[in-house]
Amino acid sequence: MGSERKGLGYWLLAGFFCLFVLFLYGPTITIMILSFQGENGGLTFPMNGFSLHWFGRLFEQQAVGDFGGSISRSLILGLVVTVVTVTVSLAAGLAFRRRFFGATPLFYMAIASLIVPSILVSLGIGLMFNVLGIEPTWITSALGAHLTWTLPFGLLIMFAVFNRFNRAYEEAARDQGASPWQTLRHVVVPILLPSLIGVGLFGFTLSYDEFARSLMTTGSYNTLPLEIYGMTTSVTTPVLYALGTVTTLLSIVVITATLLTLTWVQRRRAGKGSDAGKAA
């Protein structure tokens, strides 16, 4: 497609793309603005002054239930899910590079895990704990429920990564006498680091925002999305928007930190003149 490309078609598509971005970000930006609504302001425009009132309300226990507790549970759970997702997907990704008995059923199981509606996973785990007489808690049953969602994504990303992985690096390490563990630790993991960080980010955000799979698996102490959901039915003030702003900002901090880390890793490699990153 040559230079005549920037014709009418290009500008129509560009316009469509801009509208889509507006559609994607407009609502979120709107509630961010509205969360600074004045004390007497309502759920929509006009802005009735400008205040931090609703953010203050957020941290009062009785106003919005257990915001502090639920956010710390969600953060801890998200971190655990991240660590487990990265390790388990990397291990499984390594396994799938070779033929092994049961590889195909395991692959289909992972795909099924993406296709089965979340509410079934939630109901199934809830029922299983019920039948076994075990109390579901956010760090046991909810952790398992979240992993059924994050692991298949992690595995698929690892497939894509290993498809482009140059095995010569491993063979070179082995030829120079590295043990399998040393090869993994000093060659494979550093080369895959950016992808592993990506898998981790995926795991964290999917878990941190997961609602349906948490519904029947969290037990007595809510995670943040459940708490937010409870609020949507009972809270009719801009405090809801303040909550939205805080959680969205938290997500953005996590995403930005991850992207910065990635850039830093890439730049450090470039600085060292290593070509390792180009393989991944």
């Binding site: 759920l43 395991l106 199981m109 509606p117 199934g124 349906a212 909550l243």
Partner: protein
């Protein structure tokens, strides 16, 4: 070829050790729970307890009620609309970024712009439509300001319109990402060749790009359809209790502690979703495309 001889026995064992954690998690938290649902769907229950039994009553009650059929139809309707819209939007957006944006840095940046909202909370993203669509919301204020209507439109919030709009808003990324991914893997020489042979832009799109993007479209479609079929929170929040979906029906049965009824419903939903996925896989042979 690559396995060193002395370590052969250990290395033959390695894939099993490496795959075990994944297998264990999926067995304990996916396979056994679904088997539990199937078993419990044949159990009996009253208002306080569920009892082991083998009865078909839950299925008879479910399939004998016309509310069930209406709810399933309504959910299919949502799935069809959302699929059509997300496919149209997803394909257009991916096409623009993949073929009309030249620099790969700009492509990456625009791709990130499209995917970052996916990493933030769905519930918050749903709520953020409320100030837009409400009776005194931005949409109505704008329409009335422009003189397009005299009184606020009531159908904007808490209707099928708001449900479908929110679904499209939430799930468009699931279409964009796989379609963009397949488009980026298309050999640019093919497009060059099509043009050299006199194909118009549109002919290239229909005869070259769309066939080569099939696998991405399929993966996106599977995601969108299964997400909509199983959803309950979007329908509950955005329809304001006016509409029903299968997921919502199951969630209501759960909140009434009618677990065996919910389980029977879940089994039927699972069968339908699997049939839909199987049908989609028949249209496009994914293994051939990958």
């Amino acid at each position: 070829m690559s396995a060193a001889k002395p370590a052969l026995r250990l290395s033959a064992l390695a894939p099993y050790l490496q795959a075990t954690p994944l297998g264990l998690v999926l067995a304990v938290f996916l396979v056994i729970p679904i088997l539990t649902i199937v078993i419990v769907s044949f159990w009996d229950y009253d208002s306080v307890m569920i009892y082991p039994d083998f009865i078909f009553l839950n299925y008879e009650e479910l399939l004998g009620s016309h509310v069930t059929w209406k709810t399933y139809l309504n959910t299919l309707k949502y799935a069809a609309f959302v699929w059509a819209f997300t496919l149209g939007i997803g394909f257009t957006v991916a096409y623009f970024v993949a073929f009309h944006v030249r620099s790969s840095t700009a492509q990456m940046a625009l791709f990130l712009v499209c995917t970052i909202p996916f990493l933030t909370s769905n519930i918050i993203r749903m709520i953020s439509w409320i100030p837009f669509l409400g009776r005194n919301g931005i949409m109505n204020q704008t329409l009335m300001g422009l003189g397009l209507t005299d009184e606020p439109l009531e159908f904007l919030l808490f209707s099928d319109f708001s449900v479908i709009l929110t679904f499209v808003y939430l799930y468009a990324q699931f279409m964009i990402v796989p379609i963009f991914n397949s488009m980026m893997r298309i050999d640019r020489n093919l497009i060059e060749a099509a043009r050299d042979n006199g194909a118009s832009g549109f002919q290239t799109l229909v005869n070259v790009i769309i066939p080569l993007t099939k696998s991405g479209i399929l993966i996106g479609s599977i995601f969108v359809v299964t997400l909509v079929m199983g959803d309950f929170i979007t329908v509950r929040l955005m329809s304001g209790g006016q509409s029903a979906s299968v997921g919502l029906m199951i969630a209501n049965q759960i909140s009434l502690l009618q677990y065996p009824a919910a389980a029977a419903n879940a089994v039927v939903l699972l069968i339908i979703v699997l049939m839909m996925v199987a049908a989609m896989l028949r249209v496009v042979d994914i293994r051939k495309e990958l």
